[in-house]
């Protein structure tokens, strides 16, 4: 197996792996890995995206899934919701209680996640139960690597503050 095939196979086994972790786990030099990734991207076998100073690498098949996932994880509350749903399916009230946020705030984030196609809604009696639509392993891997900047954290808090102030008056 060539070096490049080995890298590609590792990316297929670990979609959403970061550039640095890939270099560490395969024991390849930065320059060498950069060259192979550039070639693989040129050959349309992988896609990569920079977020929070890290480069996430996905197999080409993840092209439609990775953009929404990276958009979602750039928000703190949405990251927490995805991690909660990775444990088990939950309704909005349970999520709001666990995150100590208002239901209106959670409702806003659930709508965003739903529009991004990352969660499923299912009616269970009078409640709507939410579950993850995408690969749990990929979500946990990508989120565990993500390190938000200070202003990103503050911006997320500002969004939640505005949502809390507006309470139930929000439109979907």
């Amino acid at each position: 197996m060539t070096h490049r095939e080995e890298i590609l196979q590792y990316i297929y086994k670990n979609p959403g792996i970061t550039f640095r972790r890939l270099a560490e786990e395969l024991g390849i030099g930065i320059g060498n890995l950069q060259y192979h990734l550039y070639q693989l991207e040129k050959e349309n076998k992988i896609v990569s995206k920079k977020l929070g100073g890290k480069r996430y690498i996905f197999p080409k098949e993840f092209e439609k899934e990775y953009e929404p996932l990276l958009i979602a994880i750039s928000n703190e509350t949405q990251r927490k919701i995805l991690l909660l749903l990775a444990e088990r399916e939950m309704n909005q009230r349970e999520i709001a209680e666990k995150l100590r946020l208002t239901q209106a705030t959670i409702n806003y984030h659930m709508n965003v996640l739903n529009k991004l196609g990352l969660i499923d809604r299912r009616k269970q009696g009078r409640n709507v139960v939410y579950s993850l639509k995408c690969d749990i392993e990929v979500i946990v891997r990508v989120i565990s690597e993500y390190r938000p900047k200070l202003w990103d954290k503050l911006a997320d808090k500002l969004i939640d503050l505005m949502l809390t102030l507006k309470g139930g008056e929000l439109n979907d």
């Binding site: 911006a155 969004i159 505005m162 439109n171």
Partner: protein, 86 residues
């Protein structure tokens, strides 16, 4: 001298909060956050204008009127940010 240092710090914080609001707006698309951004920016502008008399020969009475108008606008923007539906 200490008042100038404090004013510079206030202008810096106002600009930082405007920047954070801009990121929050880009992430959420919430128009109410855009009003917050404008309010923080106007606050920074107001503080800058209040110190203009040191470098430019502008009458303090004129600056007082402008600063008061800006204060009114800032309060209105905060109010709109809170009550506006997104």
């Amino acid at each position: 001298m200490i008042d100038i240092i404090l004013d510079v710090a206030i202008i810096g914080i106002a600009l930082f909060l405007s920047f954070v609001s801009w990121i929050a707006y880009k992430k959420s698309g919430m128009k109410s956050i855009l009003f917050l951004l404008l309010a923080f920016l106007l606050f920074g502008i107001k503080k800058t204008l209040e110190n203009l008399h040191i470098i430019a020969g502008i009458k303090e009475s004129t600056l007082d009127i402008v600063a008061t108008v800006l204060e009114l606008m800032i309060l209105l923007l905060f109010f709109i940010a809170v009550v506006k539906m997104d």
